[in-house]
Every structure is written in C-alpha cells, then in structure tokens.
Symmetry: C2
Subunit: 330 residues, 2 copies
Amino acid sequence: MPATLRDVARLAGVSASTVSRALSLPEVVNATTRARVRQAADQLGYEPNKAARGLITGRTGNIGLVVPDLANPFFPSVMKGVQARARSHDVAVFLADTDEDAMAEAGLVRALAKQVDGLILCSPRATDDELAAIAQDTNVVLVNRVVAGVPAVTFDNEGGMRQAISHLAALGHRRIAWVGGPATSWSSVQRELGLRTAAETQGVELVPVGQFAPTYDGGVAAADQAVATGATAVVTFNDLVAIGLLARLHTRGIDVPGDLSVVGIDDIAMAGMSRPALTSVRLPKQRAGEIAVDLLLALLDDPDAALGPRTLDTLQGELMVRDSTAVATR
Amino acid sequence: MPATLRDVARLAGVSASTVSRALSLPEVVNATTRARVRQAADQLGYEPNKAARGLITGRTGNIGLVVPDLANPFFPSVMKGVQARARSHDVAVFLADTDEDAMAEAGLVRALAKQVDGLILCSPRATDDELAAIAQDTNVVLVNRVVAGVPAVTFDNEGGMRQAISHLAALGHRRIAWVGGPATSWSSVQRELGLRTAAETQGVELVPVGQFAPTYDGGVAAADQAVATGATAVVTFNDLVAIGLLARLHTRGIDVPGDLSVVGIDDIAMAGMSRPALTSVRLPKQRAGEIAVDLLLALLDDPDAALGPRTLDTLQGELMVRDSTAVATR
DNA sequence: CATGATGTTGCAACCGATTGCACACTCGGT
DNA sequence: ACCGAGTGTGCAATCGGTTGCAACATCATG
C-alpha cells in the first residue's frame, strides 16, 4: 500500500537508482531531476522501507534497549532519555524487560541483536564474561555497569557516596548502616566500595546489613535489621528500598529523621513525594539514556571508537537534602 | 556474520528453497532431508532474518507500543504486560513515548506503522477521527480508549467509579469533589460520567473542580481548589494526582482522612506506599497489556476480526480500601 | 576536430528470505 | 512396457531498496 521507490521513479520519469541517489546523495544528481524526484516523493508521501534498506546496507536504523524491571521507576527515566535522543536521530527503539532474570536477559539480547544495529544494556544482570562475549559480535553500550573494553555510561558512585557520608557526618552521625542491593548488582558493589572509603576518610563507622531485593519490599524487609545495628543513619541501595524502609519504620513507630536518618540513591520522582521527603543522591538518569544513545551511534559510525577514551562516561550525582535526614540525637 | 539460509543449504547439500520449507512447512519435505537440514541449521546456529522475511511476507513479527508518558507508573505496568505476552509469542516490541504531545504522537505512529505489523496505542491523545484514520490503514488496538470500529481494551470506569462513590457514601460523605484530568483524556471524561451517574443514584453531590495535569504537580495544584469546595471527600483522575494532593494537604495541615478523604484511580504501586496509604481503584494494568497483544495478534491473523464482538474488552476495577478514606466528620 | 575529463543517469546484481511452477523420480496399475 | 498420480526438490522471480560499473552527453582543451 505505501509508495515504493519504483512508484516514485515512475512518477518522476527516472530510474529507481536515480531516486535512491536523489534522496540519499543529493549532490551527485542534477539539480532539476533532484527537484522533480523530491516533488514526486512527497506527492506520494514516500518513505523508504527501513527493512529493505537494512538488508543491503546492514544498518537497520533500530537500536535495542534492555532493562531489568520496568516497575522500578529508575528505568523508565533512563528510557525516556533514550527515547528522546533516538527519536531526534530518527532511530527506533526496541524495548525488552528481562524481569530481573539473567537467563531471560541472555535470550532477549540474542534475539534482539539480529534486528538492531546496537544494544543499550541497562544495569545488566549478566556476568562480565557474558557481557564481554556479547560485545564481541554486537555493538553494545552499557548503562550503570562497567566491563573492560565495552563502552559505558555510569554514575560516579564514589562521589555520590562521599556526599552522602559527608552530609551524615556533618549532622553528627558516627555509625551508619548500609542496606545493600542484590549480589549480582554491579552498582551495589560500587556503592558499598564508595561508602567504605568515604566512611574511612570521614572517620565514621559503616555497618553493612546484608543484601536485599532492590524493591519496596526489600526495604521493608531490611528495616528491622538496620535498626538492630544501632546505627543512627541508614543508606540504602536505592530509593525504592529507602521508601520501603521508611514505611516499616513508620509502622514500628520509629521517627525519621528524629530517631533515624535515611538516605536513598537515584532520586526517583517518588523520593520527593514520600513522607518524610527522602534525602537522596540524584543521578542524571535521563541524561544517561541520552549519552548512551550518542555513544552507541558513534560506535556504529566508527567501530574502532570503542577503544577510544570517550567511551566511558561517568555522570556526577548530586545530593538532594530533604526531610529524612537530621542531626544525630545519640 | 550470522549464518544465512544459503549457508545452511550448502552445509546440508540442498537448495535454499528446501531449507526454507524444511523449517517452515516441515510436512512437505522428506523426513531424512528434513533431519539433515535441521541438523545443519542448528549446527550453524541459524536463525532467519526477520527483515528479509518481512520483505516478502509482509509480516515483520514486530509490534509497536505507544504511550504518552513513561514517567507515569501506570504505563510501565501496561508495558510489562505487553512485553510478557509479546515475548511468549516471539514478537518484538517497538516502544515510543510521545511526551503527552499529540503532534509527536501522530508522527511517531506514522513512523512506526511501516515497521510493524500492528500498533498498540495506550491512552492516545489524538482525536477520534485521527485514530479512526490510522486504524484505516494500520492494525491498531487501543488501550484505555474507545473509538468506533477500532478494537480496544478498556477499564470499566463506570463500575470503578460506582465502587468509589459507594464506599464514600457508606462512610457518610455527601459532598464529593472531583479533580479531573486533561480535557483531551478520554478516560477522564468517562470517569466523570461514571461518577455523575453513581453520585446521582447514591444521592450524593458531585463537585467538579476543573482539569489538571495527570501528574503529581497537577495534584498539588488542585488541592486548594478541592478544599475550597467544602467537600468532605475528593476523587482524583489518577493516583499520581491524588498523591500530589495528599502532599499539599499535608503542608496545609489538613488531615487525611480526618478532615478529608481521598480516593485515587489506577492503584499504581506508589498508592500503597504513600502516607496515608491511598484508597484507590485497582485497574488490571498488566492484564490490559496482555489482552491488547492477544487482540492485536488475532487481528493480524484475521483482519476481519476487527468487526467481531470480542474486539472490545472491558476489564473490571476493584476498590482497594486503605488509609486515605474514613467516615465523614462534617 | 579529435580527445579526454567531467557530470549525470540507467542497468543489473545483490542483501536474505519465500513461493509458484516445473521437473525428476518412484510406484502401482494395466 | 507405458501411463498417471503422487512426492520431493530446485529454479527463478520477488519483496524494496542500494551501489558498482558502464554508457552517454556535454564541454573545454590541444
């Protein structure tokens, strides 16, 4: 039903090849024919068939985006950035949600890989080796994960954690609990590392209370253990966990920030809406999505660019102080 | 790099056509050759190129999903359903976020339409006429919107609103404010209609307080006007608005549910996490996504099915009573 | 006026699949 | 021994584009 290259050619009275060139390499065809072709093209509302073009050029004009869980607001934010940037480059986005399942992730990546020019893997659950293998024969950009040799955009976990610790230390907290994320989460490891060094230099004590699901329920589950540490402040793997923790503390009658200060990470929209409003490290999520697209597109244009220095972009976080942190009372 | 049909053919010592048939019409090729082909195929890890197949069959095996705003948790929920169902049918999903912009929506729909077998339009902002026009030459399934002649899955707004009103009426509320959504929102209109008739039959008064953005900020903006109506309860267009409203009420020192009861719609995850936890009408969002895919796939198999009776699926909502509603004190 | 450089266009092959049609072969019946 | 039906396979066209190469026209130059 939609107009094809040949339809345009017929209407313009030229050959298909001329139409193709008039549209993609304008300088090589005579000005008057070019005009005639252009006019015929938009008279017919012609738009090239991406699949057909992709068949011969090897470029589909599509990219894939893989996220672990759409229910975590962190990912929609990144997606929004990806969407926006992709659209402005006239690139379409395939989406896949792996449901936090490493197996499903592998399958989806394989399935998607053949249909796209490149993949953006957001907080992937796969191992470093698996990711390196994928990056071998597919163009890949990682978000929130670092694997040697693979371009990535990440957040400055160390800097963010330092801000959090400094803030708490300044409020007089000396013993701070850390509610970690899943063991397979790269960023959880990074954040704990960042906290450790920050705590050390600031002279405060860091008490890890284990690993929890990166969800509201994970936070609920972690609350009691966090309290039991005797710490006067808690830093959680992400905001969702912090909000779950807040809820459990509330039902237990523990006042935040009176009895306990809580700091989240991510600064999802919900952080500003919780009660008390959550102090959190804002991560430029949308920006990360945009940069990931830029990186990927650059990689496509020049496959060797993967080795360049600009292939690891680290975005700074910013502590948003709200109402869940206050001076230590103990 | 990946193996092609001809690679398999060469390895199996047959022609390309035989390979194609062996894989898609197994019964038509001799059992022994079929086995040989199969073995060659998975020795090479062969998987057909969807684009090439689509070129000739006219079916891409991809569907498109268009949503107004990824930042509203309602949509990721629907997407999750779409994802899951699409994956189980071996269909890939293109995603587009229109940013609540009707113009962008039109453009994205047009761009996507040519790359997919069909489109799922979630709470589209376009007019009925525009949607009907799109459905004319594209396979379309609507979610949360009804347009004559276009298959759709919707929520039973009337039933949901009746439950909300009954609940509030039973608590003694006689004057209930309604915070509407955007004027272009079909579901806002439906919900107001549902509230109207429910209010009438229950003998309570409904006071509309205007139209607001379907966001947290919209709720913040609506709060004061809602209070000014003198109503003892408020129903909002969706949960995000309700939560914004809750926040503003809190800063004004108005107690919920003591001074004012609040009911949201959607029952996003956040509803259970707010303080007070929000009474809300649960809509089976994920289920809606799944059904939309089923509807679309059925439509593809039989284009005439669009006219059948099973093309309008209405999902029931369920009132989740939490802590934001209580007996009227005035 | 022959020559070559330059600019513009068309032909035809190709990307990786699917499919209508024709051909080859087997086998049972006469 | 021959014919017809029935199976199984291959040839070649096709989908909608792109691109190397050749053909042609034009024009300035020697």
